[in-house]
């Protein structure tokens, strides 16, 4: 599995993805942000629907994660709490399909420039490389 390069999609809110804006993709790369992660910036993670997360898997993602504000201090009050619930719904659905539920995660991070933004991407990259390709891609059937 060493040659496996995962396809990971990250949905980040406007506030928690400020590091992306500040450094740009080249800067992030220098910080150690894995190339396997594609960033999708949204105004608020509360806007992300369950179907959006599932569509990412349909489009070939091996894993998906959402980065939103801290649960108790979301810029839009409850946006990141809503996102966490929807991530939970997808986790449940993956389990029902007998797929590893850790292929989707929710992270709550402070706004602005934080090394944790890179750290969670590395964490997902490491975990998914270990898990291997998503069974939902049908390649192992």
């Amino acid at each position: 599995m060493s040659d496996f390069n995962p396809n990971i999609r990250a949905f980040c809110c406007h506030y928690t993805s400020q590091q992306t804006c500040a450094e740009g993709s080249e800067g992030l790369k220098q910080d150690g942000f894995p190339e396997s992660v594609s960033l999708f910036r949204v105004p608020c993670t509360g806007k992300i629907q369950v179907s959006t997360l599932l569509q990412a898997f349909e489009d070939g993602a091996d894993a998906v994660y959402v980065v939103g504000c801290p649960a108790e201090s979301c810029h839009n009050v409850k946006g990141s709490q809503r996102a966490a619930k929807r991530v939970g719904a997808v986790k449940q659905a993956l389990s029902e399909l007998d797929v590893e539920s850790e292929r989707i995660e929710m992270f709550h991070l402070e706004r602005g420039f934080h090394p944790e933004f890179v750290a969670v991407a590395q964490e997902m990259d490491k975990k998914i490389k270990k898990l291997g390709p998503s069974p939902l891609k049908g390649e192992s059937a």
């Binding site: 349909e58 399909l97 939902l136 059937a141």
Partner: protein
């Protein structure tokens, strides 16, 4: 409204396993309001069915659609717009919708995508509680507007029973005793003497014990 909840995905995957073209059909009535079978839930189920099939290496084409209601013939007729696009329907309407499709489309395979639970309301977002049992012989004028048929675990007509303790039902400490609530409400309304009226033995034929029910409104038929 009718409250429903989606069946487990594995169950729906299993029931549709033999089909290659499936129409996931939502209903914009009650199941949309209780977030079980509206457009959004259709989108989610369709996606999960496609993912489930792909995982197993099965060929599956999933179409998505919804009807204004699945409990009226005129809307079921509009299924023609998906003609030949499917060999089975997963209806996300309540059981009425599934039955209506089965009644009106003799050659179409139809499966339930939700479990139809009860007649209820939503006291707060994300919660639904049973309020009515559809028994066909309403006694709410005698009970302060609170239904003992639906909300008493024993459907008692003369309550409370001995299992009512501190306003709670013996079946669970979180379940309110509706007869205690009826008593308290009638007292507040200055009608607590109504509690002394003994309800007669009830005729349950209107509740479905006399077979499937139907109503006719002559003034509406031409």
């Amino acid at each position: 409204m009718i409250i429903a909840e989606r069946k487990p995905i594995a169950e729906i995957v299993e029931m549709t396993r033999d089909h290659e073209k499936v129409l996931v059909l939502g209903c914009r009535g009650c199941v949309t309001v209780c977030s079980a079978g509206g457009d959004r839930e259709v989108e989610i189920l369709a996606s999960l069915l496609r993912l489930g099939a792909k995982k197993e290496g099965r060929k599956l084409e999933v179409q998505e659609g919804s009807l204004v209601r699945q409990c009226d013939k005129e809307y079921i007729d509009s299924l023609d717009s998906w003609q030949d696009g499917y060999d089975a329907i997963v209806s996300m309407a309540c059981g009425v919708g599934v039955n209506f499709i089965a009644n009106l489309r003799p050659s179409t395979m139809v499966y339930p995508g939700v479990n139809t639970s009860f007649f209820g309301g939503s006291p707060e977002q994300g919660f639904w509680t049973e309020q009515c049992a559809g028994c066909g012989n309403c006694v709410l004028h005698l009970t302060g507007g609170l239904c003992p048929v639906a909300r008493c675990a024993k459907s008692l007509m003369n309550g409370p029973c001995g299992g009512s303790q501190n306003g709670k039902c013996e079946i669970h400490q979180e379940v309110d005793c509706v007869w205690q609530m009826i008593h308290d409400r009638l007292e507040r309304l200055g009608r607590k003497e109504q509690m002394l009226d003994v309800a007669p033995i009830r005729d349950w034929r209107t509740a479905g014990h006399g077979g499937p029910r139907k109503t006719t409104r002559d003034d509406l038929t031409v």
